[in-house]
Point group: C2
Chain length 398, copies 2
């Protein structure tokens, strides 16, 4: 199949492009390098060095024999979007190309507006390009489990049957997202659902959990094929942060009580899920929602697991939660649809954590501990922060 | 109280400003004249002539003795928003300042993106300005009953208690909006709800039905105080269209079977509801949702009511529905919260319809029948329409 990977230079987009390419699909990569730009803005970097896209693509051709088409541009540029679709003529589009950090979206007004405008407008341009060129193209869109928040009932996959005052309907699952970023994904979901209803588009919304892991069968073939490893306070995820803190001898910083529970999955399962979605497209007019994660853990559990896997002493300490979220809550989310399609999960074993710790050790000299501190606080905004230093200058924020 | 009316030059914003001013509130009017710009773009006009804002404000001062502060600018300009709030220092903000036509949002990609960017970004700028200046300001935001769509269960006011697999939670009511405009209001609702959670803002979301009526106690005091009467295929509402068609002897054009049922209310009740919300603010951190309508009618019922009220022959004919919507559906929506605050509804009587018909007769020479034809079709996009004329040129679309 012809698959266009939007955001194909990013943490998951790049390994997805390689995975699909290695399995014989014709793959195009679309990116505007916004993700690399955020690094420059925040003064941080991937722990594992990454080379530029052109070098990545040349190396992949050399290693695998497969070519990747590249399209450099921005989804908010409608002419670029329609031109790219017309040129590549995809059967499926995998859409990773959004600003995906909750803390980044919460820095200040400008970053909130950027996140929602970038994500929502890029996605609208994409929906129109599909509707106007080929309504049979299957859109595989990356959403997030964070769209649901933490309701006091079981989370279902996109829809819930509600019986109310003697009548019953299957309705979109209520959303309670926890950042302007997570809200942008909720907006996207509503827009895509509508596009499926009016234009008969085929779409799969992958409500993904938190992904861990940095190595795939393809990325390990050469250092130039490596993908990112983020551990900073804005783009890093909690498991990566804990691994870095363990290796450098810093206490693992748990936000609040650590009872926050989230769905998680191995990067290898992200790749498998995306291909399963691509190979089993939604029906015309169908807005299909899969919850894409394999296990749930609380932050405290993750800290304990990292401490257990680490050879040596590890201290765990609590810091005030910079977010507004429930620190203790019910959490039980369905995730059977991808298993039904054949997903075979890679679970978060002691060996997997030891592999992550090894990756950190290999690049220990690149660790910047200042980058880990949570500088973006949900209850404050730019003007409040202005008195104590800019949220964008973590190393000078005191 | 000091009340800032955003979109205060529009169909409802202007009479709301006068109503609040006449009741002793200090009122500021904010507008960017986008609504007048849409008229120029579409080549249509209000049936009742309206003068410019400066003349309206001068006339109101002369007639009532009350001054209105004016702020001319765009909510997508964050500097303008924060400056206006700092200057006027409102106790409450009534936010009408959004692109509010479903057909306009469905013209093509550009209009869909404009509608969502304009509405969502303007509202985000407003939320940040409130959070950064005075979290006690009460935001009274105009939403729409169209956010809910037409579910097969009763529609509640913003939230629904769901019991699922033995557990219960009160959750945001699921949304199934029917246009990119209606979607923008759903996005706003999610963003405001979040702002209330993280910043403790006070907000009331008025999910308004379709408003009819053109005269209020204040606007009838002088022709310069009149508000708009829209009957065109893009900004006009169905009852206005039927009244114009009856007066000029054109068959009343019902879309499809006419079973589409919607909540409606008199313009006099909009004014009363807004003041009730302003006088009874939401609590800090509360995102309160009121369903603001008084009666529900199907399109067929409205056609029959207009035909009954009209002195003379009226033909009713069906045209293909340009929208994607259920033509026959269950509809039962709660609307008790504003009644509990003291709303005394003005219902859609034969006399009210006769009053509308009289308004049309007074301006019969200004009717442009070409403007009524539905030119925007939900299932098509710009490129499809390109072959049969532009959606923006209704008089040349054949």
């Amino acid at each position: 199949m012809r698959v266009l990977v939007l955001g194909g230079d990013g943490y998951l987009g790049w390994p997805t492009a390689l995975y699909l390419s290695s399995r014989g699909h014709d793959v195009g990569v679309v990116d505007n390098f916004a993700r690399r730009g955020y690094d420059l803005e925040m003064g941080v970097d991937s722990l594992v060095p990454i080379v530029n896209l052109q070098q990545r693509v040349r190396r992949w051709k050399e290693v695998s024999g497969h070519s990747l088409d590249t399209f450099i541009g921005d989804l908010t540029d409608a002419t670029f979007v329609s031109g790219t679709l017309a040129t590549f003529a995809p059967d499926a589009i995998v859409h990773f190309a959004e600003q995906r950090s909750a803390p980044y979206s919460m820095i200040d007004r400008q970053h909130a507006v950027y996140t929602q405008a970038n994500n929502v407008i890029g996605n609208l341009n994409l929906l129109y390009a599909i509707a106007e060129q080929n309504r049979d193209i299957h859109l595989v869109k990356l959403g997030t489990m964070g769209e649901y928040g933490t309701p006091n009932i079981d989370i279902e996959e996109g829809y819930i049957e509600i019986t109310h005052k003697g009548r019953t309907d299957l309705l979109p699952y209520p959303k309670q997202p926890g950042s302007f970023y997570h809200l942008s994904k909720v907006h996207d979901s509503h827009n895509i659902h509508f596009a499926c209803r009016i234009w008969g588009l085929r779409a799969t919304d992958l409500n993904q959990g938190i992904v861990y892991g940095q190595q795939t069968e393809e990325t390990v073939l050469h250092p130039d094929l490596a993908t990112r490893f983020d551990y900073d306070g804005v783009f890093g995820t909690v498991l990566n942060r804990f691994c870095v803190q363990a290796v450098v001898g810093h206490p693992l910083t748990v936000y609040g009580t650590g009872g926050q529970t989230r769905g998680m999955l191995n990067i290898l399962d992200t790749l498998a899920c995306v291909e399963l979605a691509v190979l089993n497209p939604a029906d015309p007019g169908e807005f299909r929602v899969f919850n894409q994660f394999t296990e749930s853990f609380s932050v405290s559990q993750m800290a304990t697991m990292v401490a257990d896997a680490f050879d040596g002493e590890v201290e765990v300490s609590s810091v005030p939660d910079p977010r507004v979220e429930k620190e203790e809550h019910y959490y039980n989310a369905a995730h059977t649809k991808l298993l039904d399609l054949g997903l075979e999960p890679h679970l978060l074993t002691r060996e997997v954590i030891r592999g992550l710790l090894d990756s950190v050790r290999d690049h220990r000299d690149r660790v910047d501990l200042d980058a880990i501190r949570p500088t973006v606080k949900w209850r404050e905004t730019a003007s409040t922060l202005a008195t104590s230093g800019s949220a964008l200058s973590p190393t000078t924020a005191g």
